[in-house]
Symmetry: C2
Subunit: 435 residues, 2 copies
């Protein structure tokens, strides 16, 4: 391409999938992207454009001629178009909306009217809806007419006069039935559906739970307004998992790709948590300072502080990790909050006893004083139990307060356990050593 071998480049691009072409275009220098894009046939161009990263989509839109923009944006599927509009400056969106064909403009305005991250925002309004009285033959004819513009043909929705969802027929059932059957004979009336303002994560869980290819979306009046398809749902599940993982690692996430943001944004995403944790750590420091008289008599006690706070933090991190993940999946469905916390506490007792015994032996080997060693061991058992209970209970507490349980994630638990762990250690050491 860089040698201006346009025909050769065109030949290379033809047989691959749109998503692969999109990736190839993304890897080109910016000035080449428009040229490569113009080599695509009109139909391909739209499919490829839908797969491009939003930053590249934006860059291209600024370079396209008026006519090109209009064609591509008008032909995009409504859900992808709304995703693009979310990223563009409001001024450009307004201009683009005006250029859309009336039908597409209405579709887009409908989706933009719903809140972000809801079923209404991610659905496509281009579904095929039918009447109960249609025969299989008539339906197939209608599909042949409509299917070119519709993303979703594998499930067909039957609605009544007031657009209420009455039933669902799969293309499979349609093909298997004799031509003269009417839809009300073969349709399933017990339809799984979601509401426009349901959270996208809920929608994803429903599609996953019932093994669906798509789920219909109804508005407040129970009228069918759109369909969410399984391919969008996979991306949502993936993004939600990334968000959970970032939260567990103490990194803020807002749906942007971490690796495509500037260093300053990266620092901003991380510094909030670090400041909270720094603040908590200063409390630990203040506690240790108040115990300096103990340390002046027995400096060796310091040697075990990282062991105790470290192990306590790790035990707490384990508990909070499994509980937070459990709250976001179905894994915990059979257990009550109390049962989960008690399970974790028992695990903490077991782990504390094992690790405490080892730590006592190691501490004796390191410095030869049984009183100090016992202080370390007993503190470790207490800290492990406390960490398990805090790690498992705090996410539940946060959820019941209406906050995101992931805020009680590993880094926070680790740091919080530090504070209490140091307190426990000094109390036990002072008692045993009689300082």
């Amino acid at each position: 391409l860089e040698q201006s071998n346009l025909e050769g480049a065109k030949a290379l691009l033809v047989p691959v999938q749109p998503v692969d072409i999109a990736e190839a275009i993304e890897s080109l220098p910016e000035s080449m992207q428009v040229i490569a894009f113009r080599l695509l046939s009109k139909e391909e161009a739209i499919a490829v454009y839908e797969h491009l990263d939003s930053t590249v989509q934006q860059a291209l839109i600024e370079k396209f001629k008026q006519q090109e923009v209009r064609e591509i944006v008008d032909q995009m599927s409504p859900d992808d178009r709304v995703k693009l509009f979310d990223e563009l400056p409001a001024k450009i969106v307004r201009r683009l909306l005006e250029q859309l064909s009336p039908e597409e403009r209405q579709n887009t305005a409908l989706l933009l009217g719903y809140e972000e991250d809801t079923a209404g925002r991610i659905m496509t309004p281009e579904y095929i809806s039918l009447k109960e009285t249609f025969t299989v033959n008539l339906t197939l004819e209608r599909i042949r007419r409509l299917a070119i513009t519709s993303e979703v043909v594998y499930y067909l929705y039957v609605t009544d006069a007031s657009r209420h969802l009455a039933g669902i027929v799969s293309l499979r059932e349609l093909v298997l039935s004799s031509p003269e059957t009417t839809l009300d004979e073969i349709m399933t009336r017990d339809v799984v559906y979601v509401n426009t303002n349901d959270d996208q994560e809920e929608v994803a869980k429903i599609i996953q739970r019932y093994d669906l290819l798509a789920v219909p979306v109804v508005d407040k009046e129970q009228r069918l307004v759109g369909v969410v398809t399984v391919d969008d749902v996979i991306d949502i599940l993936q993004d939600e998992a990334t968000e959970d993982i970032y939260a567990l690692g103490g990194v803020q996430s807002d749906g942007e790709n971490y690796f495509q943001t500037s260093i300053v944004t990266v620092a901003r995403k991380r510094v909030v948590w670090l400041l909270v944790l720094l603040l908590t750590n200063t409390v630990t420091g203040t506690i240790i300072k108040s115990q300096v008289h103990v340390l002046e008599k027995m400096a060796i006690l310091t040697a075990f502080i990282p062991l105790l706070t470290g192990t306590g933090g790790n035990v707490g991190a384990q508990s909070s990790t499994v509980v937070i993940r459990g709250l976001n999946t179905d894994d915990m469905k059979d257990l009550t909050t109390k049962e989960v916390v008690i399970r974790e506490m028992l695990a903490g007792v077991l782990l504390g006893l094992m690790l405490g015994t080892l730590a006592t032996i190691w501490a004796y080997w390191l410095q030869g004083n049984w009183s100090v060693s016992l202080s370390v061991g007993i503190s470790l058992v207490a800290i492990a139990i406390l960490a398990s209970v805090a790690g498992s209970a705090l996410p539940f507490l946060f959820r019941s307060l209406g906050l995101d349980p992931a805020l009680m994630s590993a880094p926070f638990i680790t740091t919080a356990v530090d504070v209490v762990g140091v307190l426990i250690y000094f109390s036990i050491a002072r008692t045993i050593l009689g300082i």
Copy 2:
């Protein structure tokens, strides 16, 4: 149900989805499960059984009569059956295999022959394959005959005489074409496929990337042997995310549901990591012990150890979290290893300078000695940079050694940074304070 109101129970169970019935049955006391299960029609029973937890599946199989077992297991879809067989004792599997119809036995043996977590294991061999010369009409007839037993009808596969995959036709295209068209006119020849020994995670990524409903699986001789469907892939992506999250929290996972295992198993899953971390922490302790003479002169230095190790650990945990997640998704695809590590290092410099300044001020406020405060601040900058580099580089190193990058997860980085952090702190403090 508990009042033996069998007819009532049956009526209640009828209109809901199999997965909901399965959940209702799971929540019943064990003695009731068989009774509830027998109320289902034969067809429903199979669908519900496929959705039960493997522990309940096993319990039921032991209570069923010979005839019931044979019927249900024979009718299950091959991929679900293999999942069940994976959980059952080898003896029972052998007995069940013998009772299967010859065709189903062959299907199952085929899948069991592939390694766990590969495309071959999770595929279903019940796809519909066709010849290029078939007309649309003939194909539709064939589908009507086969579709009852096949899970997958939305994509149809065209093979040549030696069962090599030649193309793919969607049911949508079939319905849209005129009856006399032959398949070679409408099929797509550029098919995305996977190999039997591809990892299931790779399969999931391909289905996700190309927005497919199913992907064909070919063996070493490029012959079509099965199909993996999108609903299985969603569960795989979910499980892999859980595995990653657990690894980041320092909990081993092996696909079992953490909340359904015994406390002893829980302790076993967690103790390995804790022991490794305990061992690392003892190194930190040994280093501190070797510096006791410094602490005896300047006990206040202890007050800042948790701050330094804590913050360093958190910075490192952030870097390793984003890098490990990046390795498991497509987010990092545009960057080289070097670029990622340099980005993280720069973020570490930025974060270190911000936090170091704050820590210096706080340290001075706490104890009024500028030399000590400067030691804390400078150490924090050094530790933040080191933690970012270690947190981002170690997962890459582990991957290039063929190990799971998730082993270099937050708890490990946190603890490793403790060791080096304490060393840096004492070196800097000794230099500045002249001890």
